[in-house]
């Protein structure tokens, strides 16, 4: 059984805005009955303000497809067309409190239906860029044709490169074997065509699948691009822990978090200090950090930075449950 969030279940069992929208200004159809899911999104647009005043959906598909469709209508009603077009499939998944990796394509379908409905409203035709081909990575909806294209045009010879270029294999990683298969075949073809040196080609015998390491992104890496505060403008060097009062410690924590925030804000996220209880520092990640699967790495980065600044062991805990 899939592990659906309560919100997914709620939107499936009690879907909002399902049914036909009479006199729709834009209709977007994506998917097909043969694929096992299909979505028709209908929108009403207030011409002068370019605002979506109503949206309804009809969906053929599984529980999360129906929930994603309903969530999409809830998200876009009241938004302008331009605002709506900025919504990503991740936003739909986040709205639902996350989707199982294998079900992320349901949110992609919602994203595509929205693009199609807006195109229809504008009198354009939205063309999806899916090639016909076996879907290899279900988490990110990457098919064989896309992997092949990417391997060929970039001369890729490693599985990790494919993940970096296409995201394929970057989620649940159950498709590792499938990616290897495509890479092996395409590289062999490239060697035969004389566009790849045989010794460069992917060699499954020599290949050791990397152990999935716990991904800890050092905050320094994250901050590298951000303007670093000069050492001289840093606050007073941390007093030795013994000499520090609780108030001093909290101030230091506050100041350090203030220094971290700009780099998080650049990525659309943010971090706020909620409370300090002994050595527990409660922070809330907001904005793009919510639902980001790297948020635990971010928390660890914040912790490393705080420990360094304050000079005592601290445990940074998120104030909202993380994914």
């Amino acid at each position: 059984m899939w592990e659906y969030s309560e919100k997914v279940k709620d939107y499936f069992f009690n879907p909002k805005n399902s049914g036909v929208l009479e006199g729709a200004d834009g209709v977007g159809d994506v998917g097909a009955i043969s694929c096992g899911d299909a979505l028709r999104l209908m929108i009403k647009v207030d011409e002068p303000t370019q605002t979506i005043t109503d949206a309804r959906f009809q969906t053929f598909g599984c529980g999360s497809a129906i929930a994603s469709s309903s969530a999409l209508t809830e998200i876009i009603i009241g938004k302008t067309i331009d605002e709506a077009l900025r919504i990503s499939n991740q936003d739909i998944a986040d709205f639902l409190g996350g989707l199982p990796p294998e079900k992320m394509h349901c949110s992609v379908m919602g994203y595509e239906a929205l693009q199609a409905a807006v195109a229809n409203y504008r009198g354009e035709t939205w063309v999806d860029d899916h090639e016909e081909g076996a879907l290899i990575c279900k988490c990110f909806g990457i098919d064989e044709a896309m992997i092949e294209r990417t391997v060929r045009s970039n001369g890729l010879t490693k599985v990790e490169e494919i993940t970096n270029f296409t995201k394929a294999g970057g989620g649940c990683s159950t498709c590792a074997e499938g990616i290897e298969g495509v890479l092996e075949r395409v590289n062999a073809e490239m060697v035969a065509e004389g566009v790849l040196a045989p010794e460069m080609a992917f060699n499954p015998q020599a290949y050791v699948r990397p152990v999935k390491e716990k991904k800890v992104v050092p905050l320094e890496t994250v901050l590298a691009a951000a303007p670093q505060p000069e050492p001289e403008v840093r606050p007073e060097p941390a007093p030795s822990p013994a000499a520090m009062t609780t108030l001093q410690k909290i101030r230091l924590i506050e100041e350090t978090i203030e220094q971290i925030r700009p780099s998080l804000q650049r990525d659309g996220g943010d971090c706020e200090l909620i409370d300090v209880d002994g050595n527990r520092v409660m922070v809330r990640l907001t904005g793009a950090c919510v639902g980001c699967h790297l948020s635990s790495a971010t928390i660890e980065g914040v912790q490393a930075r705080l420990v360094e600044a304050v000079g005592v062991p601290l445990l940074v805990v998120p104030a909202t449950p993380m994914h």
Binding site: F13, D29, G36, Q58, T59, F60, G61, C62, G63
Partner: protein, 400 residues
């Protein structure tokens, strides 16, 4: 309200009498049958009795034709890999397009590594094997034919006896994955030509983690798992004693209830089908109604998707399963229904109801009551439902 469990082809409830029989073998009788003391001897006797019980269910001539395994999947793997090793000079395998992944995945792998050439025989719209293609695929290169006794999704029964005879004509071994058949259909291997047969305990109210491979006396066999001398060297590893004991008791009970399975259980199934088809339009039964397991019904509801149906059924306390893509994590609907060319409009909405001797008339009433609103609700939500006349043009199932 009590839940209604109609997913017995996935797994059955372990019969309480089976559990009771197993329990002492976790506590007092914990010995290793191989040991040279009373603890071991006690267990050895019990294992011998359990083997006889399973032998009786299979109608096998000798009890040592049974090799215990961890389940159906291991039995399938052991049978096929053994045949490739013992059938020297033969490297072709014949199977059907609707086998369980325990067979199909293994064969795809063997083909990929160049170990075997695999012929996959198709089925017709009722899931019946293409006998012509089957006969043509047989050759002196055929090492083994592996065709299931009954299909897990539709219940369609294959003519295994006839297929075994044809296989023998070219000197090939015949294996059948009988995981769904054992306990539901009368079996008499002593008068059969079948060389190897796989079964699984938890499909017949026995415990999970135990199964067996029947290997006819005289058929050469090479073990999948090597080590100790257990199972006459055909499957090493200390016996799963409680599992074997439980499987024995489950086999004894299955034999006892065999007639009921054919009559009362089949009648429940038929009543459910009739009730559903009467109340719900654009639905039909898949599989071969004239040759089916007595407990299995696969009903396709058009224009809706199986996982959504199951979620709503689950809320009503009804458990069944679906060959739908979304429940399996793949994007293709059931390979069985695809092989039968069930149209996409219906293949995604196929629901399998599988009964057991534990089901009652009340269960059937509950499902017949609950299904119509569920189907209607999802159809109202489906973009295809109102346009079905356009969609369905040219499609008219003849065996509804």
């Amino acid at each position: 309200m009590d839940p209604v469990y109609l997913d017995n082809n996935a797994t059955t409830r372990t019969d309480p009498r089976v559990v009771e029989t197993m329990l002492p073998f976790f506590t007092e009788q914990f010995g290793n049958a191989s040991s040279m003391h009373a603890f071991g001897a006690q267990v050895g006797d019990a294992l011998g009795k359990a083997r006889k019980q399973l032998q009786a269910l299979l109608g096998a001539e000798f009890d040592h034709e049974i090799v215990y395994t961890s389940g159906g999947t291991e039995a399938d793997n052991a049978a096929i890999l053994s045949a490739l090793e013992t059938q020297v000079g033969r490297d072709e395998i014949i199977t059907s397009a609707v086998e369980h992944p325990a067979v199909l995945s293994l064969l795809a792998h063997l083909e990929k590594i160049g170990r075997a050439k695999v012929h996959i025989i198709g089925v017709d719209s009722m899931g019946r094997l293409d006998m012509e293609a089957f006969s043509e695929a047989l050759s002196p290169a055929t090492a083994i034919v592996s065709i299931m006794w009954a299909n897990n999704e539709t219940g369609t029964i294959f003519p295994v006896e006839q297929l075994a005879g044809l296989a023998h004509r070219v000197g090939a071994l015949f294996h059948t994955d009988a995981v769904q058949a054992v306990g539901k259909l009368p079996i008499d291997l002593s008068s059969s030509q079948i060389d190897m047969l796989s079964l699984s305990g938890h499909k017949l109210h026995g415990p999970k983690g135990i199964g067996a491979l029947y290997v006819r006396k005289g058929v050469r066999f090479r073990p999948l798992i090597r080590g100790g001398h257990q199972e006459r060297g055909r499957r090493a590893g200390t016996e799963n004693v409680p599992g074997i004991i439980g499987l024995g008791k489950a086999a004894e009970l299955a034999l006892e209830y065999m007639a009921e399975e054919q009559t009362r259980v089949a009648a429940l199934r038929d009543r459910l089908e009739k009730g559903l088809l009467q109340r719900i339009g654009n639905s039909f039964v898949t599989g071969d109604p004239s040759s089916r397991l007595p407990n299995t019904s696969n009903v396709a509801f058009e224009y809706i998707e199986g996982e959504a149906i199951l979620l709503l059924m689950n809320r009503e306390g009804i458990a069944a399963s679906s060959g739908s893509a979304c429940t399996s994590g793949s994007l293709e609907p059931s390979h069985v229904l695809r092989a039968m060319n069930v149209p996409y409009t219906a293949a995604h909405g196929a629901i399998r109801f599988s009964f057991s001797r534990e089901n009652t008339d009340t269960d059937v009433d509950r499902v017949i009551e609950a299904m119509p609103p569920i189907i209607e609700r999802l159809r109202e939500m489906s973009p295809f439902w109102r346009e079905r006349d356009k969609q369905a043009a040219g499609f008219n199932p003849t065996y509804a």
